[in-house]
Structures are given as structure tokens and as C-alpha cells.
Homo-oligomer: 783 residues x 2
């Protein structure tokens, strides 16, 4: 067995090989011709290809050893985190810039922004060194970053100059900042979401135009039907007399925010007029909004499928290249890769892989035990590495090793059996429910406060008992979400309660914040009940699984919110002010702006919903996303500025509610359907079959539930049954529906629909035929 290569080794490439490596594929061709001598550089190159295939990176890097080293550095997790950190700092500057939550002098924020821009420039230069020059300028992503950096600098200079000479100045380049999040980072999912929106736009536009036509027609009808009847709204304003006002009111009705108020004057006048509004709601709210969802969903799906197909094809090509670099040709036979080569490669790609896991993967690839694998089997490697295999070492309990006589004594065994019994779980479910009732009671009663301590002790006891009867390392293994959850909640609650009591005893002072935390922790503890019911667990697991992708949409929302917040702050900052509850300022009644006197906005006490800093802005935008009362919120801002400010709010509604929320729903729907319908991929089942063949598997039926159940059973077996066959010390289990990358999930989502040819081996690739060498690394546009 070869030893895992350490990082420094990689750099020991002899200089005379470097010129040969001018083109990676050509080099691989040479290698296969010159026989089986594989250099360190070859392995590095192959490892980069495999790693790129595994994580679906699509960067066309130079294949000189130096460029590869730079490329490895570029992909280093440390640098990537650093870039994210700089972007975060850059975005967070909005907190400190005018209008600020925490004001800082301009020079401080400017210096920080300059540092960030310098970091982004450095990253861009690094990228330029990795890929060939001509490719660098072809990628709109790079041009976009370059332009943003340049524009930011220009804006900073103009702003500084204007401010210094006392003029009014706007930091307009701040709206560009979130685009860095889209373009600089490895946020492929984010870029893809933007691209799919861009691609769906034409179709959405046509439906939107038709929808607007319908709104305009209905508005005209409303003007003619109600305009002359002299009806009044509830505020006493004339009802439906101004065409533009009607259009806005009916647009708001589509969002249902002013239903049924907008209808009441007409309905009170005559019951027949209800027909007008019912027809309107039916057509525009129900049918058109469903059509928007359908169009967005359909385009999103279609486009995503196309991209995933490209990704799969690109992955194959990268793996074929890696194969080309490492292949050995024995005479006229098909080229193959030996196990030694393969082992070295896997160790380079994934240094933390265990030997057992690696051997398992090899035995799946080399199904016939030939000691070498062909191209078809080799290409699977990237997918195989992406399948999460959970290793379960059935280690004895530490106490069994240290104090065997005590741990194996019959009272100890009784305790273990008790803990592992279903009744133990049900008892604790009951305790949790009783606890819920006590939480609901008044906590200022000293009796109830003391009962809380009793519950805390009971929960601690539960954890200790479980640690006693289960192997602690298995109990706290990486996939034991609920065990971790329980332990952290209970221990934090313990600490918080102790601090709270200490504070109380020391000065009779109770910190409200700590009490709040204690309450929240107590209630979070109740969630555990849900996990014990199988049906609920299934739903929650699905939700947890689609969690990472929901985060992508979180980024998307942040980008859009940030842009709208920046624009909104420039337009509306300081126009509406909030006064604390104990303030006696007479302006409090109209949010500090006389224009809002007697307005609905002020009456609803919405003064804190303003654009006076980035945090308020985000909360306000969220309220606008929820839609309800958005017309009242927007009415406040139009009152203090101009009626055209409505455009801002309508645009926000169109962008966020009609497009982005629909994409979100589309994704949740799609992810759920996958969970319901798609089974394991072929590769997974072959891996599973192999695990079974080798008798290394944990019985599947026991694993349908959560992992603790399965381990309970195993431990029971170890302790009680006289097994005729020695159990292997190591067991494998495929975390069958968990994917390391979001791309993996997406790929699975569309695997069923993909043409089989996309998965077929790319037979026409021949490393010795230079005409095929120019197959480009697929290039994905930026937004």
C-alpha cells in the first residue's frame, strides 16, 4: 500500500518535465506512449481532473505544473473562505455607512472597502494566472467583476470629492456589491438560479403583458361602471374615478392585499357588482398567478435540465482526461489503470478517505478482480467518491474495555436493556409533554421554577444513560443530528439556568435576555417528540435535505433585497422616523413627517417600517414579500415623496413575489417529487450490492429508521446473541439519499429524464489523436 502523499510532495516536480506539460492531454498521450512511468505531475493533473469532476468545477486551467499548483491554491478551501469573508465584510459595510445602524467615519468604511476591492482584484489576478489569457477575457464573469471593481473605485473618488466640497453625493456603486457574491464566488447554484431566471424572462414577460392587459381592461371597465356613481371609499375619498388609481388598486387586488375592502363600496351599492370583482379575482389572482408559477416552474426545470446535462457531459470529459493521463497500455489491449495508480490518485483527491472505504470503492470499480480497470469503470470514480458511505465501526463500549466486570454485570446489563427498550423512549416523550404543560404555566411561581430544574435533571439523566448503554463515539458520530441537537440544547439550557440563578442570587437581578434564551431552549427541547414519530421524521428529513438548496435561494434573496435596500435607502432615508414607545414627541403620531398626518400608515403604527438603515430596510422588504398590507406600506412612502414612488414597490412585487418566490416554490415542489419518486441511482445500488456481497452491510430494514435504532440492534447483537459467524469490525452504510453537493441532488433530480447517451462512455475520445484534444472545457456564462 502506498502512503498518502502529503502536500509538500506535490511541489517536487523536476523542472525538465515542466515544458512537456504545456498541454495536459498531449502530456497524457506522451505518458501512455512512453509506458508506465507516471510522474508526480501526472498524478497531480489527474487528481485535479477528478476533483474538478467530483465537485463539478468547470475552469479551463493551464496544464503546466506551475499553473496546476496555482490552480490547486485557487481551489484551496482557505482562500475560498477568505473570499467569502471579504464579500461578507463588503456587504456588511452597509451597516456602517450613512444611513448607518452603527455610524463609522467615512474614511474607515472607505479604507475597509478598498481592502476588500484589493482582495477581489488579487483573486481575479490569481484566476487570470490559472487560465489561459484569451479565455480570461472571454468569460463575462471576469469582465463583470473587473467592471464592478472599477466602478466602485470611480464612485468612491467622486463621492469623496463631492463630500469634501460639500455637495450632495450618492454612493450608487453600492447596488453593485451583491453582484460580487454572484460572480466572484464558487456560487454555481446562485449563478444558475440567475441564469434560469434570465432565460425564463421572455416567457414570463409575455404572460405578464397579457396579465397587465387584463388588469388595464378591467380598470377601464371599473372606471366606466363605478366612476359616475358617486360612491365613496371608507375613508371618504371618491371611489374608482381616476384611471391610474384604479389600475393600482386592481393590481393590489391581484395580490389580495386590499380584498375585500376595495369591493365593499360597490358591493354595498349593488350585489351585482360583486360579479365584477369575483371575475377579476378568478382570472387575475387565481388563473394568472397559477400560470406565472407554471411558466416559471417549467422554464426553471427545462433550463436546469439542460445545464445538468452539460455538467454531466463535462464531468465525463474530465474523467476521460484523467484516465488519459494515468492509463497504461499493454500491447494491443485496451488501456487500463492499475490499482496502485488508482490508489495513489484517490489518496491525492481525498486525503481523508479511510483505507477500508477506498478498498470498497476499488472492489466496486474492479468488479472482476483483474487488478486494473478500464475507462468505463474509471469514469465512475467521481460519482463513487460523491456517494456518502457511512462507516460504522462496531467498537465495544469504552467502559466494557476499562471495567469489564462492572459493565457486564447483570444490573448494568439491565440498565442497558432498559435504555434500549421502546418504553424508555415513550417515557421520555411523556416527560416532554408534561414539560410542555409546565412551560405554559406561569414561571414566576417558585414551585414551577423548581420543577424546571427537575426536568433538566431528567434530560441530563437521559443523555448520560444513553452514553452509558451506547458507544459514545457512535452516539456522537457526524450523522447523529438529533443526538447532537439534544445534547447541545440540554447543556446550553443548563448553563443558562445556572447563570440566571447566579445572577438572581447575587443581586436579585434577573437578566431578561438570559431568561428569553432559557425559554427558547426549553421549547426547542420539545421538538424532539417529533423525531420519534416515523411519519414526521420522514417529512423533516426531506426538509433538512432540501435545506442547503434553500440556502442558495437565501443568497438569491439577499442579492435582490440588498439592491432594493440600497435604492430604497437613497430614496426614502430619514423621510419616516420612528419614536420609542416612551417618547413624548408630538411628531410621534405621524412618524415625524407632517405629510403622514391622519394617514393609514401612521394609524397602523408602521413608523418603524422605514428605510433609515439597512436592517430596517431588510425587515421592511420582507414584509413587502409577505405581501399583506404592502399597499399601506407603500402609501406611506408615496405620501412623503411622490406618487411615482409606487413604481419601486410594484417593481419589488414583480421581481420578488412573481419571479423569485415562484422559483422557490418550484424548487421545493421538484425536490419533494424527487424524494417521493426517484430511487437510488444505478451506481449507488452497485455499491450497495458490493457492500452486501462483502458481508459488510448493516441490515437495511433496520436502517430505515434513524441510525440510533440500528445501532441499538447491533449492540444488542454484540452483547446478547451467540453469533455463529464473527461479525466484521467495520460496517458500511450508504447515506443513500444524502448528497455532498447540491449539484448531486440536482443531477439526481433530472437523471431519470436525461438521455442515456449522456451517460454513455465518450468513445470517440482518443488521447493519441490530437484532433480530439481541443474539446473545450465547457464554459458557463456569468449572469
Amino acid at each position: 500500500m502506498l502512503k498518502t502523499m502529503s502536500e509538500p510532495d506535490k511541489k517536487e516536480i523536476t523542472p525538465e518535465e515542466a515544458p512537456e506539460n504545456g498541454k495536459g492531454i498531449r502530456n497524457s498521450g506522451n505518458a501512455s506512449e512512453t509506458g508506465n512511468r507516471k510522474t508526480k505531475g501526472d498524478f497531480d493533473l489527474a487528481a485535479v481532473y477528478v476533483s474538478d469532476a467530483q465537485y463539478n468545477r468547470n475552469i479551463f486551467f493551464d496544464t503546466t505544473p506551475q499553473a496546476i499548483r496555482l490552480y490547486l491554491l485557487y481551489n484551496h478551501w482557505g482562500l475560498q473562505i477568505l473570499v467569502y469573508a471579504f464579500i461578507l465584510v463588503d456587504l456588511a459595510l452597509a451597516i456602517f455607512e450613512d444611513p448607518a445602524v452603527v455610524p463609522l467615519p467615512i474614511w474607515v468604511t472607505s479604507v475597509i472597502e478598498l481592502v476588500c476591492l484589493a482582495a477581489f482584484t488579487a483573486r481575479l489576478v490569481h484566476y487570470a494566472k490559472v487560465i489561459p489569457r484569451e479565455r480570461f477575457w472571454k468569460d463575462p464573469k471576469n469582465i463583470c467583476i473587473f467592471a464592478i471593481i472599477l466602478l466602485s473605485l470611480v464612485d468612491m473618488i467622486i463621492y469623496g470629492a463631492l463630500k469634501a466640497s460639500g455637495f450632495y453625493a450618492v454612493r450608487w456603486s453600492r447596488v453593485l456589491r451583491p453582484l460580487l457574491l454572484v460572480n466572484i464566488t464558487e456560487g454555481r447554484q446562485l449563478r444558475r438560479a440567475f441564469r434560469s431566471i434570465r432565460n425564463a424572462l421572455p416567457q414570463i414577460l409575455y404572460v405578464f403583458l397579457l396579465f397587465m392587459f387584463s388588469v388595464l381592461m378591467f380598470s377601464l371597465m371599473a372606471l366606466k361602471l363605478f366612476g359616475k356613481r358617486g360612491l365613496k371609499t371608507i375613508e371618504g375619498r371618491p371611489y374608482f374615478t381616476n384611471y391610474l388609481e384604479i389600475v393600482f388598486d386592481l393590481y393590489v387586488l391581484v395580490t389580495t392585499a386590499n380584498s375585500p375592502d376595495i369591493m365593499m363600496p360597490a358591493y354595498n351599492f349593488s350585489v351585482y357588482f360583486a360579479v365584477f370583482f369575483i371575475t377579476y379575482i378568478l382570472i387575475n389572482t387565481y388563473i394568472f398567478m397559477s400560470v406565472f408559477l407554471a411558466v416559471v416552474y417549467n422554464n426553471y426545470k427545462k433550463y436546469l435540465k439542460e445545464e445538468v446535462r452539460k455538467l454531466v457531459r463535462a464531468k465525463r470529459h474530465k474523467m476521460v482526461r484523467a484516465f488519459g493521463v494515468l492509463q497504461e497500455r499493454k500491447g494491443e489491449e485496451e488501456p487500463v489503470v492499475s490499482q496502485a495508480c488508482w490508489n495513489q490518485l484517490v489518496r491525492l483527491v481525498q486525503p481523508d478517505i479511510s483505507n477500508a472505504h477506498r478498498e470498497l470503492l476499488w472492489s466496486v470499480s474492479d468488479d472482476n478482480n483483474k487488478g486494473c480497470i478500464g475507462k468505463v469503470a474509471f469514469v465512475q470514480l467521481a460519482d463513487l467518491l460523491n456517494i456518502q458511505v457511512i462507516m460504522m465501526k462496531s467498537r465495544p463500549h469504552p467502559l466494557k474495555t476499562w471495567l469489564p466486570s462492572l459493565y457486564l454485570s447483570s444490573p448494568s446489563r439491565l440498565v442497558c436493556r432498559m435504555v434500549q427498550h421502546k418504553a424508555f423512549m415513550y417515557t421520555y416523550d411523556l416527560i416532554i409533554l408534561v414539560n410542555a404543560v409546565f412551560i405554559g404555566l406561569d414561571e414566576e411561581d417558585p414551585l414551577i421554577a423548581n420543577v424546571e430544574w427537575a426536568f433538566l435533571v431528567l434530560y441530563l439523566l437521559e443523555i448520560l444513560l444513553k452514553l452509558y448503554s451506547f458507544e459514545p463515539r457512535a452516539f456522537f458520530s457526524r450523522h447523529q443530528f438529533w443526538n447532537w441537537f439534544d445534547t447541545i440544547i440540554v447543556i446550553t439550557a443548563l448553563i443558562a439556568m445556572i447563570i440566571n440563578s447566579a445572577l438572581k442570587l447575587s443581586g436579585g437581578y434577573t437578566s431578561r435576555q438570559i431568561l428569553d434564551i432559557v425559554f427558547i431552549l426549553r421549547i426547542l427541547r420539545l421538538i424532539r417528540v417529533v423525531d420519534n414519530i416515523k411519519r414526521f421524521r420522514a417529512i423533516i428529513n426531506t426538509l433538512i435535505k432540501i435545506g442547503p438548496t434553500i440556502l442558495t435561494f437565501g443568497q438569491l434573496i439577499v442579492v435582490v433585497y440588498y439592491i432594493f435596500a440600497m435604492v430604497g435607502m437613497e430614496l426614502f432615508k430619514g423621510k419616516i422616523r420612528f419614536f420609542e414607545a416612551n417618547s413624548t414627541d408630538p411628531d410621534k403620531a405621524f412618524c415625524g413627517n407632517p405629510l403622514l398626518k391622519n394617514s393609514v400608515f401612521a394609524k397602523h403604527n408602521y413608523c418603524k417600517n422605514n428605510f433609515n438603515n439597512v436592517v430596517s430596510s431588510f425587515i421592511l422588504l420582507l414584509e413587502l414579500t409577505v405581501v399583506n398590507q404592502w399597499h399601506v406600506l407603500s402609501s406611506g412612502f408615496t405620501a412623503v415623496t411622490h406618487i411615482s414612488a409606487r413604481m419601486f414597490f410594484v417593481l419589488f412585487h414583480i421581481v420578488v413575489v412573481i419571479i423569485i418566490i415562484n422559483i422557490f416554490i418550484a424548487f421545493v415542489l421538484e425536490a419533494f417529487f424527487v424524494e417521493y419518486t426517484v430511487d437510488q441511482s444505478n451506481l449507488q445500488s452497485s455499491l450497495e450490492k458490493k457492500i452486501e456481497e462483502l458481508e459488510l452491510g448493516v441490515k437495511q430494514e433496520k436502517l430505515d429508521g434513524n441510525l440510533v435504532d440500528a445501532m441499538e440492534t447491533n449492540d444488542n447483537d454484540m452483547g446478547n446473541s451467540e453469533s455463529t459467524k464473527e461479525k466484521p469490525a467495520l460496517m458500511f452504510k450508504i447515506a443513500c439519499k444524502r448528497y455532498k453537493t447540491v449539484d448531486g441532488l440536482l443531477q439526481r433530480m433530472f437523471e431519470a429524464d436525461l438521455d442515456p447517451e449522456d451517460f454513455a462512455e465518450d468513445e470517440d475520445f482518443d488521447p493519441n489523436n490530437p484532433s480530439n484534444l481541443n474539446f473545450p472545457n465547457p464554459n458557463f456564462d456569468s449572469v
Copy 2:
């Protein structure tokens, strides 16, 4: 060629054949053994099978000639319409019963209801005569109808007795009425929708429980976080102090109806509390509501697929039976059906089919011109008949026949060419837009009123010109939706304007109603612009296509609304009263109920939203479906009754918004995806190929748009080009995406997903083998 058989012929079946026909299949077996003698009864039986297959009727009828005659009568469209009419009358009784819109004496409504019940009983008895006795009582649908009729009678008697003796009585059986709509009629789609809801219920329940658990947890947290802080709502009530109130408020927040008001007190206190509400909205409003849609959608799809699969299988079996009845066996060859038999059958099934159409269908079935078809080809018949083939006779213009010299003169030709030119269309689009502006202007200006006459004349001229240049029968053919639309609108507008002017001239009196109609018609005319833009037309066509199925959901909504309206009327009638605008009653300020003094309900002027009659109830329920302000509406009714009345409104929200609206969205999504993705079925393409082969086709590319375009081109060809080949006088076109029945659309929706075996010929069916004869007619449960 055989003559189409007339209805009376069918009854001339000789009595000695009747006993033989005890079982249809056995009879078919006999027929094939005794050779080619086919009796009238055989054809009738086969025609019934084919017709059942065509319309997916699944009734296991007796196969005696008498039962078949009864069965034909049972399926007669006249009787079906009569049943619908009786159901309508029965449902409409709610308008006349207390609380009534138009009060009628109890004895009148009772007599009408008795007549309706008698009609339903007659229908049920008729059905019982058609199908075997033992099957009748196995079908829950029949038992359900029987129970409803019985319960209604009991209720009427009790109600009458109680009323007569002066007691308070409730007509509780009225909630059962809409179930008749579900069970009696041929509303297969409606029953299916109910069944798919019933099947999805368990899954929805689990998600709902988890969702409620989440709401309860958050409520507990809210109680602990906000309860002790002494915050006040905007109305001055204590904020978040009562657990049940919190649960209700947070449930309302899920529907977004009280956002952001419910958050404002906490947000005004501290910005950190916004996190609580944001988390809540994210989890419960966005994620859980999407999950509900996903679960409903997924179950709906899954179940529908299963049902359609059953339907397809049942259709095959019915067609195989029809084949069994009509087959001829020549020696050892495969059994076949001759063209003569087939012709007679098709004429019986579809008496209005044209000879040309029938011959076209035959030539598709008998691809090799053998004069007879086997089982595989025969089974297609039901699907072939369901493909709508539009026949287009290229008839010359009547004027061309009557006044050829004038019609073919060069000025006349110029007019025709002009009308057929694109510019003509654009001119009229422009006229419509100018018209729109004029409509928006003040119509009391006499100039503008006169301009309207000019526009009307222009529109009339357009129609006349088109009638002059296009063949009138083609212009007004069945599929020319927009031509019909235009003509009806313009002529109605003309009549209304003439009446209006006449009224004005006669007494200076203007009827507001007629003016309203005139306005609406004028604005509807503007819609025509949309049809001229290809992209819009595509969207509208899709909407029109899914229209019939939206009607199914309309029925579903009516059933649910009716039940809730009946219950609501019993609970809340007369509690809230509406006063006309000019009323001076002091009770007006609080809707006639002192309990509503200073309530939000009365302040919003919602008094007309009440359960005082069935029309108000339906409008109120629609407002509740739109969700916005539903908590305010419900608060009014809880104020005048009891806090527990909230249950009614929450239940309505769960049933209608969470379940039914989601099914509606699911259907629209699915229908749109089908329109986007699925192409023609195989059968359609083979039919189309045949049409092309026979050179009877209208060029496809010309037909992508609307049919008028295509005919313009044809007419041009006829008039101007010297065609070398004589054009056939008759042309066919497949109305490719239009389905006669909703089932057809559904079948197409899932065709792609269905196993091919479901479409494969049912090879194991052998009419001579009695063991296979007992294959049951598939039985679909009632709700």
C-alpha cells in the same frame, strides 16, 4: 354502402334472440362460432361498448336487448340534461328557503323538493334496471343517493311537524344536497377529484399535524417571550398573553392576513424580536405551504395516473368485447371485422359522422387495404373517434355562385385582397386602440358619444368585409371562436346602443343598466387585439383548453361552498344586518348588532358580508377564500356568537385554501406542462400521416396560427394561382390539441408516464374461453 340506421330500427329485435343474449360475451362467442350472421342486437351491443369506451363510461350493464335499450335511454343526453336540471333546481331552492333571497312559502319549496327527489328516485330506479341487482347494492354511489333521498324526506317531515307545532327547526338535510351533484350525475371528473382528495388526506394530515405542532411551539415561545412584557396591540389590548389567542393569531399569520400588524408591537419594542416573526413566516408560511402544495400535487398526480391507467385498461376491454361481438373467423385465420360491419357500427355509434370522415378513419385502421381489420386495429376505434377532425370544405363564396361577374370583377377582387392583407388587421388593431382611448374619456361629452357610433360602424364594416371576402360558412364554423366572439359583441353592442338612444329620445331617460352593458361590451371588444399577437394567442388558447376542467373545479367549489353556506346560514343568519347607504337607522354603525359596537368589523363597513342568504354567503365564502382580512371577517361573527365560531372559519380555510386551491393550482400546473411538453399521440400522428398520404391535408405550417389565416391562404390559392393539380374539395385537419372529453386530456397528460403494457393489446382475452369472460367491468367507487 349501408344506410345509417335510425333509432326505431334498434328496437326491432326478434324475441327468440333475446334469451341467447343473457351474457354479452357468451353471445359474442356464439356469434363467432355460428359464422358471419350479425343481428341487430349484436350491433347495438357493440355500439354500446364502443360508445362506452369512447366516453369512458364504466357501467356494468345487463346485456339483454331490453337492458341495452334501457341503458341507451339511460345515457340519452336528454335525460342527462334533465337530471342536471333537477339538481340545479334542488340546489337553487336555497334561494327561496328561509333565510331567503326571494322568500317563498314553505309548501312551495317543499313540493318542488319532493318533485326533485322523485326525479332522482326515478333515475336511481332506472339505473337499477340497467345493471344487475347484486352490482347495484355493491356500489356505494347508489347507497349514498338512496340515503340522501331518505334523509331528505325524513328531514322534511320532521321540519314540517316541528314548524307546524311552533318549535325551532333546522333543515339539516340541505347540506346533503350538493352530494347529489357528486353522486347522481355523470360527473366522473368531480367524483375523481373528490376521490383524489380523499386519497391524499392521510399524507396531508401528517404534514398538517407537523405544521400545527410547529404553530403550537411558536405560540408557546411567543407567550414566553412577549407575554410578560406588558406590550399592547394597536387597539390597546394586551399583546400575546393568552395562549389560545396566540395560536389563532399565529395561524392567521400563516395566511399572511395580519402581517405585519401582529409583529409591530414586538418589533417596536425591539428589533431583535423581528427575528422570531421572520423565522415563523419562513418556516410556516413559505416552507410548510409549499410542502402542502407539493403533497397535494404529488398525491393528486399519483392517484390520477392510477385512475387513468384503470380507465385505459377498461377501455381496451370494452373494445375487445365489441370486437368479440362483431368478429368473423375465416378458417384458421385470426378473427377480423369486415368493413361493412365496421361502417354500420361507426354509424350507430356516431350517427352524425360524415362519410368522408368515416372513410378516413377506416383507411387509418385498415392500413394495408385488406378490407377487414384485426383486433389491434379495431381497438383503436374509440380513440380514433375521439380525435377531433375538422373538415374544411373549400366551397366557393356564395356570391361567386350567384353573381360571378360582379364578385370576380377587379374592384371586388381588390377588396378581397385588401381585406386579406395583413395591413387590414393592423389598421383595425389601431382603430381598437384609438377606441380604447375614447372609451377612457368622458362619455357625457356629445362629441365622444357620437364618435362611439362611428367606431361601431367601423366594426360592423369589418365584419361585413370579412364576410364578403371569406366564405361565410367557414367564417362562422364551429371552431372560429374569435369570429363568433367579435360578431356577437358588435351586434349586441349595436342593439344595446339603439335601445339606449331610443330610451333617451323618447323620455330623456337613460337606463343605467343598459349603459353598463354598452360599456362592458365596448371594452370586451378591445380583447380582440390580443388575439392578433401570436404569443398571446398561444397562452389564451392554453387557458381556453384547460377551461372545461376548471369547470370541474368550479363544481367542486360549489359543493364545498354550498355545504359551508348551509352550515353558516344556520349558525349566523340574521346576526349581522346590512343597512342601505341612505338608511338613517342608528344601528347602521354597528351592523344592527350592539355586540359589534366599535369592532374592527363594523369599522371596515363589512356589514354586507353576512350569512343572511345564500348569495351573500357565497360572496362571503369567496372573500374568505381570497384569505385577506378573513380574521377580521371571522372576528365579526365570533363577536356576535361565541369565540368557538372561529372553528368554522379555520375549518373553511383548511378545506378550501389548503386543499382545494392547491388541487386547482396542481391541475393548472399539470395542464400547462402538458401543453408545453407532450406532443401528439401516436394515433394522432398516424391519422395525420394518412391525411397527408391521401393529400387531403391542409398544410400544417399554415395552421399553426388561427384557422382564419389558413383559410385566407387557401382562398388566395383558389383565386389567384394557377394550380397544376386539382385541389380536393374537402380537406381535413386534426384539431390536434383539442380533446372532446376531459378524460382525453387527462389520458394524454399521463400517457407518457403510463406503462406501455397498458396500451398493449390484451392478448389473453379469448371470447371462446369462458374462464376469461368474467373480467369485471371496472368498478369505480363513489366518494
